[in-house]
């Protein structure tokens, strides 16, 4: 009771930076809903922070649902304007899919620096330019001091910086106020564990159902045996181009 009263009496900037051990802290920066209610309920401020560093660790190689997890927030954060910058993505981003995810292609910048040093430099330049609405950096190797520097730059310039790292980075310390690790589950589900947040540690994992690109799945946990790959032409879902000429070629 006394603690609560004392907390109320504190000046606003101190109060927002302070939280009780058993409560979820308030976010110091504005947030954007992630599109997953179960996740929003556990994130301080109810969503991804819109300024500063957030770390997302992936237990498997790229392609485990990390973009589907971020896509809704990305589309919302970029809606008012500003550039969406991806630094060193593991593969070529496929433009039609990006458009379907809600990434504005005319404001999308894809950087592929030759070295991690150049990537860090580029990230800082992007943050300091003040024109970026969302910065995503795939960084297999990085150092805490580099991350701290970028975190401060992102806070100063009110830009969300998402760093995607391999799951092995869990063992290393990080200056990120929010760290999550995600593991894909069958049937396009994603298990998210929150490693670090402003609030009590979350022991349980959150399971999220990502948007499924597979049109309709059967109720079994194990994927059904593959449909026969050699189907007659009439069975194919989409037929593009000219059907008769290529067969002769």
């Amino acid at each position: 009771m006394h603690a609560a009263v004392a907390h109320e009496a504190l000046p606003a900037p101190v109060r927002s930076a302070l939280w009780f051990g058993h409560q979820l802290g308030a976010a110091e920066v504005p947030t954007v809903p992630s599109g997953f209610d179960a996740l929003d309920a556990e994130l301080p401020g109810g969503g991804w922070p819109l300024a500063g560093l957030t770390e997302l660790l992936q237990q498997v190689e790229p392609g485990g649902g990390e973009l589907a997890l971020l896509a809704a927030a990305l589309a919302r954060a970029a809606a008012p304007g500003g550039q969406v910058v991806w630094i060193a993505p593991p593969h070529t981003p496929f433009a039609p899919a990006l458009q379907a995810l809600g990434v504005p292609l005319d404001r999308f910048l894809w950087l592929s620096p030759a070295s991690p040093k150049d990537a860090a430099w580029a990230a800082e330049q992007v943050l300091r330019s003040g024109t970026c609405a969302w910065l995503q950096w795939w960084s297999p190797k990085t150092t805490p001091d580099m991350l701290r520097r970028l975190h401060l730059a992102a806070l100063d310039h009110h830009c969300p910086l998402l760093v995607l790292r391999p799951g092995t980075a869990q063992q290393h310390a990080s200056p990120a106020p929010l760290r999550l690790v995600c593991t894909p589950l069958p049937r396009r589900q994603l298990e998210v564990r929150i490693l670090k947040r402003r609030g009590p540690a979350l022991a349980r994992a959150i399971t999220l159902a990502l948007p499924d690109p597979v049109p309709q799945r059967h109720g079994t946990t194990n994927p059904s045996p593959s449909p026969s790959p050699s189907k007659p032409l009439a069975d194919a879902d989409v037929v593009a181009g000219h059907p008769s000429a290529p067969l002769a070629a």
Binding site: A95, F108, Q125, S129, S226, P227, A240
Partner: protein, 498 residues
């Protein structure tokens, strides 16, 4: 009017070709008519002070390099500085030992006297000189305050200026007014110690003994008589050259030397209301038996700019990426293309135009360091073949024309596309990705097109999942020749859903 005088006490020395690693311990001095005019710190430490005789200096410190005075160099140095300072004001006057700026109209734009002085000093330092600055309502007073040692060199009001001037000590003040030493001796002999004492003397007597020049100079300084000056006119075409005293072979030194040229360019551009679009930096190598042809660095800006900081950053990044065939002994900066640019209006809120400018500047900066091919944007193309459904183009260039509307996609597309499809093995009728058997989740999506441009594809695409639960986009090649040519059973991995 408010005049800012930029006085260059060591002009004869600073105007000489740029010393890059100039024998730091040895020192240099400039001699003229048997007298040392200026000496650098190392030379002064060795005892060579300005005003010393040439022979005495040579005896005192034989290692100090004695250079003859070069008046042509000095003139072009002062003109270069005047050009660089044109970013501050269009009203510039060339004075014998420096530059005078009329800055009353610039105070508000640059945020006050203090910031303006800081900026002027910064530009002068970039040009390779350490000036003393004086600020006063008349040009002559500003010059005097800058040139004479004193505790205060700034006066905004006429009364303050007159009070400060009256306190200036005599021989130095008269020297700054370019009066002969004879007059100074005479005035000191009759008991005048400061400029105020001289002004208090009867005018007729002063005119008889000191000449009309002294009286006129005093009147100009104290604001008693008008002091018309000739404005400096910048050249119609921009071209700036710099000779290096020592051979430069690393980017850091070259960038340092080129800074003066870029500052001059920025001043010239702002005077002409232009913004640079294409620049050329010529790096001159030594000519002769082993001479190499001059190297050229072309800088094209996505968004025309006249900001010296931005231009310098672009230049520095490009210089660092460049390999030099031979040491450089001269630099020349040329402006190939410029566009009219009428500065930006102040605004309460950051507006879209400013934002757009910043994006262009960012893309230029990134392209200069990473290489333009590593800063890309994506555009859609009307083609069903995945590898041709998009165009990746350098963001530093305008986007290519992509005719037609992209096809509507009824089936999801993967976020990652592999640049080259990876062949997959087949065991027990299933495709395998490495050690993982893949299960097909969808019926085939047939993409069969390209017969018209020689890049025929006949593929059945499926979504497939492995034991690690990553969704893959795989296809089976349907053309018999293509399948028989490759070792795999016609299965390929083409994308990953992320």
């Amino acid at each position: 009017m408010l005049w800012l005088a930029i006085h260059l006490p060591r002009l004869p020395l600073e105007a000489l070709p740029v010393p890059l690693d100039a024998l730091p311990r040895v020192g240099r001095c400039v001699v003229d008519q048997g007298q040392v005019l200026a000496a650098d710190a190392a030379a002064q430490a060795a005892g060579v002070q300005p005003g010393l005789g040439q022979a005495t200096a040579a005896a005192l410190a034989p290692q100090v390099l004695q250079c003859p005075r070069d008046l042509t160099c000095e003139t072009s140095f002062v003109r270069g500085l005047a050009l660089a300072l044109a970013v501050l004001t269009p009203h510039i006057v060339i004075a014998p030992t420096g530059v005078l700026l009329e800055v009353r109209g610039s105070l508000r734009l640059f945020g006050g006297v203090r910031k303006l002085l800081f900026k002027a000093r910064h530009i002068a330092q970039g040009c390779g000189t350490a000036p003393t600055l004086g600020l006063a309502p008349t040009a002559q007073a500003a010059q005097l305050l800058a040139a004479c040692p004193g505790p205060r060199r700034r006066a905004l009001a006429q009364a303050t200026s007159q009070r400060l001037l009256a306190r200036l000590p005599l021989p130095a003040a008269l020297h700054a007014l370019q009066q002969p030493a004879r007059v100074a001796d005479l005035l000191q002999a009759i008991g005048s110690r400061t400029l105020g004492d001289v002004r208090a003397l009867p005018r007729s007597g002063l005119q008889r003994r000191g000449g009309t020049a002294l009286l006129r100079a005093l009147d100009h300084a104290f604001g008693d008589a008008p002091d018309p000056r000739r404005w400096f006119e910048p050249p119609a075409e921009f071209c700036a050259e710099l000779e290096l005293m020592h051979r430069a072979d690393d980017a850091q030194r070259l960038a340092h030397a080129a800074e003066r040229l870029v500052l001059m360019l920025a001043g010239w551009l702002s005077r002409q209301w232009l913004a640079a679009h294409r620049l050329r930096l010529l790096l001159r190598h030594e000519q002769g038996r082993h001479g190499a042809p001059d190297a050229e660095l072309v800088i094209e800006l996505g968004a025309p700019s006249r900001d010296a900081g931005h231009l310098m950053l672009m230049l520095r990044e490009r210089l660092q990426r460049m390999t030099l065939a031979a040491p450089v002994y001269g630099l020349r900066l040329m402006l190939d293309d410029a566009q009219p640019c009428a500065g930006h209006e102040g605004s309460l809120l950051a507006d879209d135009r400013q934002q757009g400018q910043n994006v262009h500047a960012l893309v230029d900066r990134l392209g200069a360091r990473l290489g333009p091919e590593r800063v890309q944007r994506l555009a859609l193309r009307a083609d069903h073949r995945p590898e041709r459904a998009y165009v990746a183009h350098s963001a530093t260039k305008p986007p290519p024309c992509t005719p037609g509307l992209p096809p509507p996609y009824h089936v999801a597309r993967p976020a990652w596309l592999l640049p080259l499809p990876v062949p997959l093995a087949e065991h027990q009728g299933r495709p395998w990705h490495g050690t993982q058997p893949l299960a097909l989740l969808t019926r085939a999506e047939r993409i069969e097109t390209g017969w018209f441009d020689g890049a025929l594809v006949c593929r059945d695409y499926h979504l497939a999942e492995g034991p690690d639960h990553r969704l893959r986009w795989i296809y089976r090649e349907r053309r018999v020749q293509a399948v028989s040519a490759s070792a795999s059973a016609g299965w390929y991995l083409h994308g990953l859903f992320a």
